[in-house]
């Protein structure tokens, strides 16, 4: 018995158990949330008050402080999602599936934010809310991939099947993402010339870059906080038949009762 208790403790995989991850997530989430708040305020301040006005685009360019981190994050989250899906399918760890499902809504949200802010930026800059540019189009398709993943995992009642089916489609999507990206890019260059380019002026003021990076870190911290918070009730729901969940719920009920 002692050996069985000690073995997972010594291993890196200790927190792969929902029972140990649940309190850890609860402890970490507020810190990431605080970091996200501080970084967002700092990034916004840098972006809106410190960074100089762009020579060619004027004030409109300031949308990049939200747009670029959101776009980065939306792509990165899909990779992380696919990674957890692969880990789940290969190693049969329940928590990996929970992680990938908790990440998906945030990824979809960032995808939408990137598209929306891009549209708001495009109107004054290009004169159109939407152009069928390769990057815009592949971002839109990424949003569809997220929505498909979320819809599939929500539509299947049995959590075990939902986990695996979602992981499968996440992996199929991850294989297809580069194919989609390059095909869209090629399609775009075939159809319309480089009339519109997303590439910014090569020289970027260092405060602009700093603001963008700080906002990117804020997006990371936000994602971690929200995901950890989303994971907790999902763990409780799935492990509701176990003793430790009963103990946790009892303790929380007692705390809520005592506070009143």
């Amino acid at each position: 018995m002692t050996a069985a208790e000690r073995a997972p403790r010594a291993s890196l995989f200790r927190f792969a158990a929902p029972q140990t991850f649940y309190p850890l997530a609860g402890r970490l989430a507020p810190w990431f949330a605080a970091a996200a708040l501080v970084l967002t305020l700092a990034g916004m301040w840098l972006g809106f008050f410190v960074a100089p006005t762009d020579a060619t685009q004027g004030e409109v360019y300031r949308v990049i402080f939200i747009h670029v981190p959101a776009a980065w994050m939306s792509m990165f989250i899909y990779l992380v999602m696919a990674f957890w899906s692969a880990v789940g399918l290969v190693m049969n760890t329940r928590l990996s599936f929970v992680m990938s499902q908790a990440l998906a809504p945030t990824g979809a949200m960032f995808c939408f934010v990137a598209l929306w802010t891009g549209a708001l930026w495009g109107r004054p800059t290009w004169g159109a809310y939407w152009v069928w540019d390769a990057r815009l189009t592949s971002q839109l398709l990424l949003l569809f991939l997220y929505l498909g993943f979320i819809a599939l995992t929500r539509a299947i009642e049995d959590p075990r099947r939902a986990d695996r089916a979602g992981a499968m489609i996440a992996l199929v999507g991850a294989v297809n993402v580069p194919i989609i990206y390059f095909s869209v890019k090629w399609w775009n260059t075939l159809h319309q010339g480089a009339s519109v380019s997303l590439t910014k002026a090569p020289s970027m003021a260092s405060t602009m870059l700093a603001g963008m990076l700080v906002m990117a870190f804020a997006a990371w911290a936000y994602t971690l906080a929200v995901t950890l918070w989303r994971v907790r009730p999902m763990i409780l729901e799935r492990e509701r038949h176990t003793e430790w969940v009963g103990a946790v719920l009892e303790a929380e009920g007692a705390r809520a009762g005592g506070g009143r």
Partner: protein, 222 residues
């Protein structure tokens, strides 16, 4: 192994032949979708000629999608699928046979009808062979990718719509290169590059999709 493949292929083709009406419905859907476009965008021949490759390819995507959920649904309902999964034969083999039978009974008729519809839209006759070749290379990819989606959404409520949401984004590259091949031929740049890419995609899908589909069926049936 080859015996399994041939047996499942023959069985599915026989079933498709007995249920010919389903195939005809798919074809009718394909024809009607294409015929709706002139009503929507106007019967101006130049305009129709310009949009013809895209319209034909989108109609092919939609009619493939429409019949896709049938791929495993019947076998799922009568328990055949469960027996097949329990059998000692490798799942990839009979999954491949089923997808091939599905393509022969649904994809191939659409490819055969497409040139006729292309004439309705006044597509240049010189581009017809390229259209047919692009469809011959592209529709197997649709069937293979769609099979993975169909396996994952097996017996799920709202399965048809869900299937569309899952696989349509994955179909985009096929659409781009398929319609692009015809347009490249029309513009005189030559369709070889597009067709080679489609062929590469077809080979890749052929190598990977049956495995993904077999794994998905196991996930859905356990």
């Amino acid at each position: 192994m080859l015996n399994t493949f041939v047996a499942v292929l023959r069985r599915d083709l026989l079933l498709a032949w007995r249920g010919r009406a389903d195939v005809l419905v798919t074809l009718a859907f394909f024809v009607i979708v294409v015929c709706l476009f002139p009503f929507g965008v106007g019967a101006e021949p130049n305009q129709l000629r310009a949009i013809a490759p895209g319209v034909l390819w989108v109609a092919v995507l939609l009619s493939c999608l429409l019949s896709m959920h049938r791929l495993f649904a019947q076998d799922h309902a009568d328990g055949t699928l469960e027996q097949l999964l329990l059998s000692s034969e490798p799942a990839v083999v009979w999954v491949g046979a089923k997808v091939l039978a599905f393509w022969l009974s649904t994809g191939l008729p659409v490819v055969v009808v497409a040139p006729g519809l292309a004439l309705l839209l006044d597509l240049e006759q010189g581009a017809l062979p390229v259209l047919v070749v692009s469809l011959l290379l592209g529709t197997p990819i649709l069937a293979l990718l769609g099979a993975v989606g169909a396996a994952l959404t097996l017996g799920v409520r709202g399965g048809g719509m869900l299937l569309a949401l899952l696989v349509l984004p994955l179909f985009v590259p096929v659409l781009i290169f398929g319609a692009g091949a015809v347009e490249a031929e029309l513009s005189g740049t030559g369709a070889v590059a597009h067709l080679l890419l489609l062929g590469g995609g077809c080979a890749g899908a052929l190598a990977l999709a049956p495995w993904a589909c077999a794994a998905s069926l196991r996930i859905s049936m356990e």
